[in-house]
Homo-oligomer: 233 residues x 2
């Protein structure tokens, strides 16, 4: 992912960020900048920069004469890619994955519909190539190759939607798909029906059939929800 150690303050964040998002410091608990600086063996300047970053993520709130107070989870900037990564790496991973998959299932069908209207010929070609790659890696335990094209496929859809908010969720979707393949249970070859759906989505986008692209993508995301036992009754 992004380079880990962008300086000393980055090192501090690599430890402190995950600790806070994991709930090691319960909401309302107070940290002192000086103590943290001592604990991490860095100067106060460095520690202050780290605190500023946490503050900009709304993870903590710094107040004079009080200290650095950990904010309620409901106030965190949960769309910050860094925060998402920290939470996916910690004990909150299952919940995070659930939330993100539900988000995907809301966003991706809409993105596919827009992509069907606005995708450039290049993007259509790219999409078809990705779907082809998925097919080529769908049998014979070539999970890494399959994942690679799967991630690329969804990135293209989100980018081709022409909506910057959708496009920026590419990284999130990549994390979810990667997590599903690597961390969680996925020993066998992918579901053939899912592969077919991707091919058909590429088709629909190419033909400019927004309604069909949307519906097919919805079927893909419903599958993702079912894998996590998130059912719509």
């Amino acid at each position: 992912m992004t380079t880990p150690g962008r300086g000393l303050h980055g090192r501090v964040l690599d430890t402190l960020g995950p600790a806070i998002t994991a709930g090691d410091y319960p909401p309302g608990s107070v940290l002192r900048t000086d103590e943290l600086a001592q604990h991490f063996e860095v100067s106060r300047s460095v520690m202050r920069e780290a605190v500023r970053v946490l503050e900009s993520m709304h993870l903590v709130e710094s107040r004079r004469r009080v200290g650095v107070r950990v904010r309620l989870k409901s106030e965190w900037n949960v769309y910050d890619p860094q925060v998402i990564r920290w939470r996916l790496a910690g004990a909150d991973r299952p919940n995070q994955l659930r939330s993100l998959t539900i988000l995907r299932s809301a966003i991706e069908p809409a993105a596919a519909a827009l992509a069907a209207r606005d995708a450039t010929p290049e993007q259509c070609a790219e999409l078809t190539a990705c779907a082809l790659g998925m097919v080529a890696n769908s049998r014979g335990h070539k999970l890494d190759g399959y994942l690679f094209h799967d991630v690329a496929f969804h990135r293209v859809i989100l980018a081709a939607s022409g909506n910057e908010m959708f496009a920026r969720l590419g990284d999130v979707v990549a994390e979810v798909l990667t997590g599903r393949t690597h961390h969680d249970v996925m020993f066998e070859d992918p579901d053939p029906a899912a592969v077919t759906l991707h091919v058909q989505v590429a088709e629909a986008v190419r033909e400019g059939d927004a309604a069909r692209a949307e519906q097919l993508t919805r079927e893909i995301t419903v599958g993702a929800l079912q894998e996590l036992d998130i059912l719509a009754p």
Copy 2:
């Protein structure tokens, strides 16, 4: 919204953030920390903290021997509430509003469906109260009262969905709705059909009818899209 000047570095950000998001410094251009510190008449420590925050938003990237380089727009953390506020305040406002409204139209129907399944009795009551407040303020140019209940209504829906990612979009929706009422053209009373739809959504959620809640909310958001001339063919 959030308190403006949380210290000197906050003051700097209030100027520098909008300038960058507005495109005053084109992508790739390089700033020097020392020059900025001089320009804003603050110490280097303060300037460095400000730069760290901008860096955590992926607005800039700080490299040794080079300086602080402005990143491509496609790399910005566009879900950061602060970034959204800066962009809504600048020349990019129309585009930002477009993107956010499309995002709303993808999220809110899904949130309404989940809310219909999981809303607590208290949330159902709150929702009904909001809808009632909208009705009461729907005639006689009581736009502020209407807006207040409209914002509250959508916040409750997003919160009641039980998905933290959806819930955190409450502020975004509030900004969009407020912007529509205050900045943009909205002289007359709100569309009676929209008011009715809100009342019906509250009904559907109360009755646990997920499909109906989703469909009705979709009609609300389609209305929002049409106001901005974003059409689905």
